[in-house]
């Protein structure tokens, strides 16, 4: 259990500090030989870059990539502040 925590911390740092990802808004959860990624990124390439970086840092883990590309459309409505 402890080693999973260290591994998750190591992977989180890699995702934040590797210039190919530079993502602080992606969660990294390790469960056995699986690593779950969750959160939002700006485009599809960055979703793929996460798998690339994790594949190099921890090739033994199976990556489950639940990261979504954040919607960039017009707002559906507005909020009135009174």
């Amino acid at each position: 259990m402890t080693s999973e925590q260290y591994l998750a911390a190591h992977l989180r740092r890699a995702v934040a500090e590797d210039p190919r990802t530079a993502e602080l808004g992606v969660r990294v959860t390790v469960r056995g030989d699986h690593v779950l990624l969750s959160g939002d990124v700006a485009c599809e390439q960055r979703r793929a870059a996460l798998e690339e970086v994790l594949g190099e840092v921890a090739p033994e883990l199976h990556v489950m990539n639940d990261v979504r590309v954040v919607p960039a459309g017009e707002p559906m409505g507005e909020e009135e502040l009174r």
């Binding site: 602080l24 959160g39 919607p71 707002p75 507005e78 909020e79 009135e80 502040l81």
Partner: protein, 242 residues
């Protein structure tokens, strides 16, 4: 009615060029001004700043921005600011801009902000040099925000920052990292100055709505929270008969 569009944490780079532009072209139909709450780039490079500038230049409404921590990563924040300014954006850091909208005046004061934590669970300017400089940076920025807000005499005052002034809009983030997400000192500056609305980003897993201890509305507009190119808040200035 003053309509304020806002978004933060767009994290643009060459790979995301043009993604927001279709929605931005129509921002004038939704709003009178667009506020950008920092983390406009991924690594804070001048090249990425040009992508941001192209994305937000020549819009039908004025664009007001503050920088975020990502925009400082390459240690070229001044150059990033200059690129945005050269393309017509208003970049604030301890400064303010004023607009006349539908006969009413809007003032926006902005800072990047910084961390430190919230009342009762925060750092102090004590001990190691690194700790004093961490909290000292927040103290200095909060002071700049307060001065810029105090100097505004507009019908509506908005505080724009990257880091959060309250813990409310961080719900969803692990409480252990709140000291890296914002500071009560920013909230104190908002509450001391008759401000109507505080806008921030930074907390991708937080929530949109919050309130300062003094009763000022706070909105977290990080793009992963609002899930659109921008969101819109409408404020009706109070009419004061003179």
């Amino acid at each position: 009615m003053i309509r304020i569009a806002a978004v933060g944490d767009v994290h643009l780079g060459e790979d995301a060029r043009g993604l927001l532009r279709p929605a931005l072209e129509r921002v004038g139909e939704h709003a009178d001004v667009l506020l950008l709450a920092g983390d406009l780039t991924r690594h804070g490079t001048v090249e990425e700043a040009h992508v941001v500038a192209d994305e937000f230049a020549d819009l039908p409404v004025p664009v007001v921005a503050v920088l975020g921590n990502h925009d400082h990563h390459d240690d070229r924040a001044n150059e990033v600011s200059d690129v945005l300014t050269d393309h017509g954006l208003h970049v604030l850091e301890g400064t303010a801009v004023r607009f006349k909208i539908n006969g009413r005046s809007l003032g926006v004061a902005g800072v990047k902000g910084f961390g430190g934590g919230f009342a009762g669970k925060c750092g102090s300017m004590f001990g190691e040099r690194e700790m004093k400089s961490f909290i000292g940076h927040t103290v200095e920025i909060a002071g700049m925000l307060q001065n810029a807000l105090e100097a505004l005499d507009t019908d509506v005052k908005v505080a724009l920052m990257h880091y959060s002034p309250v813990p409310d809009t961080l719900r969803g983030e692990p409480p252990e990292i709140y000291p890296f997400l914002g500071s009560y000192l920013l909230g104190e500056a908002v509450d001391a100055t008759g401000t109507d609305l505080a806008i921030h980003g930074h907390a991708h897993f937080g929530t949109e709505h919050g309130l300062t201890p003094g009763g000022v509305r706070v909105r977290n507009v990080a793009q992963p929270i609002i899930r659109s190119a921008y969101t819109v808040y409408c404020l009706e200035p109070q009419v004061v008969e003179s």
